[in-house]
Amino acid sequence: MTTKPKLKEKRIGLFVCHCGVNIAGVVDVGKVAEQLKDTPGVSFSTDYVYMCSDPGQQMIIDTIKEKHLDGIIVAACSPTLHEKTFQEAARLAGLNPYQIEIANIREQDSWVHTDKEKATKKAVKIVKSHVAKARQNENLDPIKVDVNRRALIIGGGVSGLQAAMDIADHGYEVILVEKNPSIGGKMIQLSETFPTLDCSQCILTPKMVEVSRHPRIKLLTYHEVDSISGFVGNFKVRIKKRPRYVDETLCNLCGECEKVCPQVVPDEFNMGLSFRKAIYLPFPQAIPGTYTLDAENCLGLNPVRCGKCKDVCDKKAIDYDMKETITEEEVGAVVVATGYDLYTMQALGEYGGEKYDDVVNGLEFERILSASGPTGGEIRRPSDGKVPRSIVFVQCSGSRDSEKHLPYCSKICCMYTAKHAMMYRHRVPDGQATVFYIDVRTGGKSFDEFYMRTVEEDKVLYIRGKVSKIFKEGDKLIVWGVDTLTGKKVEIEADMVVLAMAMVKADGVQDLLKKLKIATDIHGFLAEAHPKLRPVESLNAGFYLAGCAHGPKDIPETVAQASAAAAKVGDLFAQKELVHEPTVVPVNDELCSGCGICLTMCPYTARTLDPARGVVVVNEILCEGCGACAAACPSGAAQQRNQTDDQIFSMLRAMLRD
């Protein structure tokens, strides 16, 4: 059995409420009070017309003081209504609020039954069970911990930037970690943005500059979060600094190093559609404005050194001996804004993206459209640089195909495909744009108008149906599809094909998320604490979600979510200390065998096995008190405070015997 210190008998006061006629009309409240006055533990029993009224509460307060009561039962309405009221009354009388029990004899008795005798009998049982529980209730104090008012943001895309700005503007310090050489994320690669056709770089770069200059934001690019330990309000973060081999404080962007570098590699920023050197600036507005030496492709780091860039660097900014370093930071909250990736061309073999240069994905087409892209904004196809006279756009490439690919909708593709087709028609007025779609989903402000403009003004041909195969014939791409409205097969000769690839979980951060034990959904996107009521919080206390790491979404939604996450971090930081319900499930060391069953029950990682002592330890601030572990513990070592197994058994006895 569990530990049951023999306490001296409690002095419990029982207060039965009439609630006007709401309870007294059906339940004989006087009889309830009378019948239970001699129950073990009860030393005072009465009934009153409205317990929640001021005189009612005062009566409770006075009686507690006069009769030295150390436990109270209020038999009244549902605890969701007045539990707090009576807890406060108890506190005023100097009694621990966790000594209050509310017996629900209104919603779950007088209001649902008409037989007075049976309802009264039921009320007696209900109240009696609470007496049984109250006899074993302990005084509890809320669990309190300090909060470290600094936030960590993982990811420097638009969501991370927005969250960082907002939290810093609230007056708190922020550490922003980005694994790439520059902040900006995927948004900086986009050309125009739907439905307003704002230039993406023009609207994002001011934000990037603002973040980099903010006095309360510590920007750590080319860094990665290695691990996070601790708990809400008190995290310890290990951050790995990848060697850049260029001292960013010395580099003045003269570009001499790039000119002499002999190593040419595909440029990630342009999705491999152009080339860069091994020492490079990701893009002209990169922040921080510094060259980065890509160690994988550099010759200088190999034993036979090249060293050309180092020789020409006037500033002596290049250092081949830089090493990876680890720093530690302490923060109170973490915003995970790790972004997304696109479904791979390999996964959609029938569309030929791997084989044919002119089958590109949406992000590649963004680069082709972009004024800072490989073609300077002219639409030319990658294979031979010709202006395509016909482009086929394939929506739902990988999305909404539960049999072969991904069951979910990637949400933004309908809109960006409309934009792609429109931009193409604007720049190649005699070109033919054809879109294959399953449905066109345009839920968003001004979205449908934009789509209608694409169809009506820009004369883009929309065909409802899927594409089955894309193959090459001469220098043309042949697109086989079906028009499901006419039921006919369609064959289109195209110069280029753009696949609206599904958005998927970000590839590079999965190990980190696993290490952090952050809850994810079945597709690897971050899971929110509640799909409706807590959409920007993770289940793991102190972690917040922003942007496409949580699921496909467009820029305004991403920004809104990032601001919401920042506001939630603000909520946390505004508290003097974290206060947590004490009705958690601790472990009795003497009974715990260290089997670890409860660890698998806990969705909050509140429980860990202490290998040295062979027992489970509980981080009470993380425990939400669901009690799943208590039910699973084979030795009775895990007991929920003020709802122990003993208390449940006592309540059952009181309810069911005789």
Partner: protein
Amino acid sequence: MFEPQIMCFLCKWCTSSAADMAGTSRIHYAPNNINMRVMCSSRVDPQHILYAFKEGADGVFLGGCHPGDCHYVEGNYKTLRRIALFKIMLKDLGIDPKRLRLEWISAAEGKKYAETMNEFTEQIRALGPLHLNEKALVQEVVKDE
């Protein structure tokens, strides 16, 4: 007429709120049940259910949130698995598994709660008293479905 005793374990977030909702809506139902509010259906240990039978319950009802709605993410799935196994055990113990019922009733489903209570009460009335407290080891004959 036999009046069965029905012990209900209700999750605080959904089914207990549904029971409150039934009250607020004044939906009348059979007074045979008595409720215990727990934080989550997964707090209920099969031992509690067995103990309820032993102490005189003729039927035990367990109410939780609908799949996907659990306040504690997945507590109801844990309950589902536990109860499925426990029903097999109940049969071996000589208690008709039909005496134990698990339902998902959301906070908005006051009517469903009341209807379920009526239905379950009638079901248990038809099965007759369990009297496990009196006959201790005398087992109920459980017919195969």
